[in-house]
């Protein structure tokens, strides 16, 4: 609690004591009114003061003014007890929502507590503690266990594991060694690292993220603008109604001025729009916080609103749905086991540095016995011919494309794959099998697509610069609705525009890319989602939503967070307006007292704030794969 809040608690406690004493004494002693006044003063002496000051600066209709008129009015018509109670509860409610707001502000700050305070700069062998922005490009810095990585860089010396949870939502630490890239904002867990910086502080990942998060709430959702607009007309209308209620019924029906003034005062209590105005931005703020805790950064609450209405999701292929790296995706021996075939391939490709050879070696994963490799010749455009020892005998092996097999008159019975490259292996004239190398689909893509479908996304589309057949094959395997291939970056914009025209009214379209070369499309879509935000400035810049790691399934999480937040926002708006209108009606017809009016104001505020804070928590649904 802040100091201001502590003082308030003390004042309210004192007020409550006076109030209880006054209620007990009422009727027994004539002087009870003194205690009531003391209770009123302790709880809210500053309200009339503020009201006067604000009127002096030309602002009527603020909550201080309304509370002052309402309570003074109640006192005048003889409802002293209620006037004090109203003031007391009003202040309790204010204190509570103040506390709640501060708490959620703090929890977001803690969440985004990735800002490094210092860097250990190495200068001529000596170490010096400096501000991160003093470090220049290419300087060496030292990072000890427990310290935050202050700037992006490359490890020169040392091994360690890094905690990137605050950046990516990923709880598994990442292992780093000499040559690895480190990202600012992550926390060094185990070993001392010497790092050469590759960015200035202002350009570092951590500075970019902080900038984005802090600016996030400046782009407001429609619901937020609606509620502030509503509040602007709501208060004057209720005040005018209150005035009418105080004057006309007694004038035309005669008598009972006190009753109608009392009802009018109750109106004024309900007329404060704070419950509405506070709960909506608080909910959105909570939603943005929950998202960033999961490694999803949104550039504004308007995007939460948009994501909740997703209808079409357009994916870029390479680097988004697929890893963008060539990997062995299939090993198909005619007989024997896959491992043996892969070993032969690795032996033949051992001396080659071709990307395909590298993928084969990576897939085999073990060191090969160099003794088993004899003469090897590369047949340009075909593949490799080499001698490999199997058991005790040397065999003449061939590995390469279909043309190589045809040249050697080897009969191949594996159908060729459309996607990627197929390597065929033969021992002399005997065909051994094939190894398929292709751009692998990311492991969580099926889960992501299934999740999107179950969240009500109608159309899943893939755009690719790759060959149409390749795109088709990938699209079919993944169960996408539409695939467009052979596209240049400009064509992608065209197709996204076409799809934008076709989507139903009120629904939105998202484009998901890796942020490289697709800035125009990211900008054109209702929601541009960039993956792999870590270390990619372009992505952070161009997109509306940044997913920190290469996990398409996070889009599903984003939808769920957005839907939950929008649900809370809707509940709060309906609840607050509903209760207020209900209370107004009941009060006007004399079915409710000023107590109900107090509930209509602070009670609603408090409940709406508590509800809003639910937006901060998000639990990942159990795996959708099974």
């Amino acid at each position: 609690m802040t100091k201001k809040q502590k003082i308030m608690v003390f004042r309210l406690a004192a007020s409550a004591v006076f109030f209880i004493a006054a209620v007990l004494l009422e009727g027994k002693s004539y002087y009870a009114w003194i205690l009531f006044l003391l209770a009123y003063g302790a709880a809210g002496y500053d309200i009339p003061v503020k009201a006067c000051r604000n009127i002096a600066t030309g602002q009527v209709f603020d909550e201080n003014f309304l509370m002052t008129i309402a309570t003074f009015g109640a006192i005048i018509v003889g409802s002293l007890e209620e006037a004090v109670a109203v003031m007391l509860f009003y202040q309790v409610g204010e204190l509570f929502s103040d506390y709640a707001v501060n708490k959620s502000r703090k929890s977001i700050q803690e969440l985004m507590d990735i800002n490094p305070e210092y860097a250990n700069l190495l200068r001529d062998g000596a170490e010096e503690r400096v501000e991160p922005y003093e470090v220049e490009l290419g300087d060496r810095i030292l990072i000890r266990p427990g310290e935050k990585v202050p700037l992006d860089g490359v490890v020169i010396k040392g091994n360690s594991s890094l905690d990137t949870k605050a950046l990516t939502g990923e709880s598994m630490p990442t292992e780093v060694e000499a040559g690895s890239r480190v990202v600012s904002g992550s926390i060094n867990l185990s070993g001392v690292l010497e790092v050469e910086t590759t960015s200035l502080f202002d350009d570092s990942t951590v500075a970019k993220i902080l900038e984005l998060v802090e600016n996030a709430s400046s782009r407001k959702a429609k619901a937020e603008t609606f509620i502030t607009r509503f509040a602007r007309v709501y208060t004057p209308i209720v005040v005018v109604l209150a005035l009418a209620l105080a004057i006309f019924p007694p004038l035309f029906q005669g008598g009972g001025w006190g009753t109608w003034i009392y009802r009018a005062c109750s109106f004024l209590v309900v007329s404060c729009p704070c419950a509405l105005v506070i709960s909506v931005p608080l909910s959105f703020f909570g939603g943005l916080g929950a998202a960033s805790r999961n490694g999803i950064l949104l550039k504004g609450s308007n995007y939460l609103e948009a994501v909740a209405n997703l209808d079409t999701v357009v994916f870029d292929k390479t680097g988004t749905l697929t890893t963008g790296r060539f990997q062995v995706t299939d090993v198909a021996p005619t007989h024997g086991d896959r491992e043996a075939l892969l070993e032969l391939a690795a032996l033949l490709e051992h001396h080659s540095n071709h990307p395909i050879a590298l993928s084969v070696k990576e897939a085999y994963g073990k060191a090969v016995d160099v003794e088993r490799i004899g003469q090897v010749e590369e047949i340009s455009g075909y593949g490799i011919h080499g001698q490999v020892r199997i058991g005790k005998d040397w065999h003449e092996l061939y590995i390469g494309n279909r043309k190589l097999m045809e040249r050697q008159q080897i009969k191949v019975d594996t159908p060729s794959e459309i996607v990627g490259t197929t390597l065929y292996l033969a021992d002399g004239r005997e065909y051994l099998g094939a190894v398929v190398i292709s751009d692998a689909v990311r492991s969580d893509v099926p889960e992501a697509l299934g999740g999107l479908r179950s969240q009500g996304v109608k159309k899943l589309v893939m755009l690719t610069g790759d060959k149409e057949e390749v795109g088709r094959a990938v699209g079919e395997r993944l169960g996408l609705d539409l695939v467009y291939g052979n596209l240049l970056p400009g064509d992608k914009v065209f197709w996204v525009e076409e799809l934008l025209k076709k989507k139903p009214f009120g629904k939105t379209l998202a484009f998901v890319g890796d942020g490289i070369n697709d800035a125009p499309v990211l900008a054109r879509a209702d929601i541009g989602i960039a993956m792999g935000g870590i270390g990619s400035d372009a992505a952070v810049e161009a997109a509306d939503v940044v997913i920190m790691e290469d996990e398409p399934s996070k889009i599903v999480d984003t939808i769920q967070i957005a839907r939950k937040t929008m649900g809370i926002v809707r509940q709060n708006i309906i609840f607050a307006i509903g209760v207020k209108v209900l209370v107004l009606v009941l009060v006007a017809f004399g079915y409710a007292s000023m107590w109900a009016a107090v509930f209509g104001d602070v009670g609603v505020s408090v409940l709406a704030v508590i509800n809003a804070m639910r937006a901060l928590t998000y639990k990942k649904m159990p795996s959708r794969e099974q």
Binding site: Q59, R105, S218, R232, L282, F285
Partner: protein
């Protein structure tokens, strides 16, 4: 030019909305957004009128929420 101002201790959401509205009506302001939650007032001012706009915003903020601080971040 974009100006970012921190209103430390801003405690009334409705006042925030009023400050935002007030600044929006000030001459030389292209865009304005006040986030109640982050207590940040972001003003996109016309070039050359930044100082004037910030001063106007300071007056408006002081009038509506005298308790809140007013710190120009950049």
């Amino acid at each position: 030019m974009k100006k970012i101002i921190k209103l430390e201790g801003l405690c009334c959401a409705n006042c925030a909305a009023k400050i935002e509205e007030g600044v929006r009506k000030t001459g030389g302001v292209k865009e304005v957004s006040l986030s109640f939650m982050t207590q940040r007032l972001t003003i996109e001012a016309e070039d050359g009128r930044e100082e004037e706009v910030v001063e106007a915003a300071r007056r408006i903020a002081r009038k509506i929420e005298p308790e809140a601080g007013f710190k120009v971040l950049r």
